[in-house]
């Protein structure tokens, strides 16, 4: 396990008397990508500003590589870089914008220029270097904004809803590029987002923030699979997120090794890629073991033992251990007819089209 890069201890922020942020303990580990998710107004941006040293917490402290951060410390701010939701570029050329942070740190002209060019290339904006920043499209401007932050090669990168202002195609292209770049560079990153797909695509771990309070910090599959409380469950929804690896892609259908099984899900993905297969319990059907080899339109069938039967309103959620936890929502009638009880063996099945794949590089 890598050591914490940034730690928050008993951090509270009060705005006008109201508690806007309450984080008892949070560690951002070296080299990890931590995605902070929560609805709008949950205090995500406040958390990011505290991390950036721009908002002093009312209580508690910040530790960077185990030493305490003083609020307003320029030396601390120069170890990190912040990217805001909509790109705020200066009225200069793209190249001057990308090298801005480097020049503010006193880096010389050609050295800063070379570094800016490198990151412009990596973000696919090298051909825009001589353009005025104000003439760029939204997607181009956000790429420039990201290049400006990444060119600093920060010890901690803070991203505040970096895709929220972009249209869908622009956003998915940038999301793919950014994920690839951050994984390759091993940049310790905190990304704040209200979008679960972004969080799942980027985050090694997820931190769930609701009403200013940090509720759960865990791997995506555990946050989705076993939410800390009902509010977290309600926010993340009832989807499961099953980790797997693409082993083949044929005619737009990916074969994904997950647990002991191989799943088929339509997806654009590359062989060898890590992915999350997202699925709703309503789409999972349970069958007797004899049906494992029988005909069915459900492409995905997994054998496993029932680990838990829990009442959820008028339905039951039956958890099956297939090497990963698959949850099926069933009616009380089905529960009785199939004799579903903990310890029993069963076949869980879902159609290829019921699942969706999130690429994690």
């Amino acid at each position: 396990m890598s050591e914490p890069r940034l730690s928050l201890r008993g951090v509270r922020v009060r705005l006008g008397g109201a508690l806007a942020l309450d984080v008892p303990a949070l560690d951002v580990l070296s080299g990890e990508l931590l995605a902070v998710i929560g609805p709008n107004g949950a205090g995500k941006s406040t958390l990011l500003q505290v991390m950036a040293g721009l908002t002093a917490p009312t209580e508690g402290k910040l530790l960077f590589r185990q030493s305490e951060v003083r609020p307003g410390d320029v030396a601390y701010r120069r170890r990190l870089a912040l990217v805001l939701q909509s790109p705020v570029l200066l009225d200069l050329s793209v190249s001057s914008n990308i090298s801005l942070g480097l020049r503010m740190r006193g880096m010389r002209g050609h050295q800063a220029g070379d570094r800016a060019h490198l990151w412009a290339e990596r973000l696919g904006v090298a051909h825009l270097m001589e353009r005025r920043a104000r003439s760029l499209s939204g997607g181009e401007a956000q790429r420039v904004s990201l290049a400006r932050a990444l060119a600093l090669e920060p010890e901690l990168l803070l991203l505040d809803e970096p895709f929220a202002a972009l249209d869908a195609p622009t956003r998915s292209a940038l999301l793919d590029d950014l994920r690839r770049l951050l994984r390759a560079a091993g940049t310790t990153t905190v990304v704040v987002t209200h979008d679960q797909d972004e969080a799942l695509a980027l985050g090694d771990r997820l931190a769930v923030l609701l009403d200013g309070r940090l509720r759960q910090v865990d791997t995506p599959e555990r946050v989705f699979g076993s939410p800390a409380d009902e509010e977290v469950a309600a926010f993340v929804g009832v989807e499961m997120a099953l980790p797997g690896r693409v082993i083949a892609v044929e005619q737009g259908v990916a074969r994904i090794a997950a647990g002991r099984e191989t799943l088929s899900v339509p997806a654009e993905a590359e062989v060898g890629e890590e992915v999350l297969v997202c699925l709703r319990p309503e789409d999972v059907t349970l069958m007797p073991v004899e049906a494992y080899h029988g005909p069915s339109s459900a492409r995905n069938r997994c054998r496993g033992r029932i680990t838990r039967v829990a009442s959820r309103g008028r339905l039951y959620h039956v958890s099956v251990d297939c090497g990963f936890a698959l949850v099926a929502a069933v009616t009380p009638q089905a529960l009785g007819e199939l004799g579903l009880a903990e310890g029993n063996e069963v076949v869980a099945a879902f159609k290829a089209t019921a699942a969706r794949v999130i690429r994690r590089g």
């Binding site: 120069r78 990190l80 990217v83 805001l84 909509s86 200066l90 009225d91 932050a149 600093l152």
Partner: protein
């Protein structure tokens, strides 16, 4: 009408002849109002920046005072500076009343609020997230201010143009604290007033023409600079 046209011809001739008296008055006008604008910029720009960026008790009151100061009647400023610099006044020991220095002081009082007010408005118009983003990239306080000035440069040039305009066009304060002494404190505005009161309309028109020309040339130069700043 004929006499006006004749006077205009006479005035142009005076300007073209480079009459030493007229040149002397013009140069002094430039010196006094130019220095006053420079000093006002040194006061007004930091003051405007602080008012735009810092939140402190009494800020609104101060901002209202600055905004009110943008329309200060020059004669009131003249009276105030005269009272201060009068031999028995609190700053009387400086012995600068009826000198160009006193006129510069009066014009600084007139131009500073104009520059501060326009600068504050210009900087407040900037995207508030700009400051946050700059800090988030590791900028020091000074680097933030310089970047904000760059982004607000059009407003800041407009502020300077307005400040210079206020200084060069005022007559009341210069008359009261400068005394309109020939060869010492006579500037284009006060000389025009004097020439008109004497009925020397040719000279008055010549001086008025010069004043217009001067203020047009300088403003045009600054505007050219400003619009060049837009294109880049």
């Amino acid at each position: 009408m004929d006499s006006i046209l004749a006077g205009l011809r006479q005035a142009i001739a005076l300007v073209l002849q480079r009459d030493p008296l007229v040149i002397d008055i013009t140069l002094r006008t430039l010196l006094v109002s130019g220095s006053a604008t420079a000093i006002s910029l040194a006061f007004g720009l930091p003051a405007g920046t602080l008012l735009a960026l810092k939140r402190f008790p009494g800020r609104r009151l101060l901002l209202s005072a600055v905004n009110a100061g943008m329309g200060l009647p020059p004669v009131v400023v003249g009276l105030f500076i005269a009272l201060m610099l009068w031999r028995s006044g609190p700053l009387g020991f400086l012995r600068i009343i009826y000198t160009p220095a006193a006129m510069i002081a009066a014009q600084v009082v007139i131009a500073s609020p104009i520059i501060a007010g326009f600068s504050a408005a210009g900087i407040q118009q900037l995207d508030p997230r700009l400051r946050l983003q700059l800090l988030g990239l590791g900028a020091t306080g000074w680097q933030v201010v310089l970047a904000l000035w760059w982004e607000a440069r059009l407003s800041l040039l407009a502020a300077t143009i307005a400040g210079f305009g206020g200084a060069i066009s005022e007559v009341g304060a210069s008359m009261m604290v400068g005394g309109n002494i020939a060869g010492q404190t006579r500037v284009l505005t006060t000389a025009t007033v004097l020439a008109t009161s004497r009925g020397d309309f040719d000279l008055a028109m010549a001086l008025g023409l010069l004043l217009l020309l001067l203020s047009f040339t300088i403003t045009a130069a600054m505007t050219w600079l400003q619009q060049g700043a837009v294109r880049r």
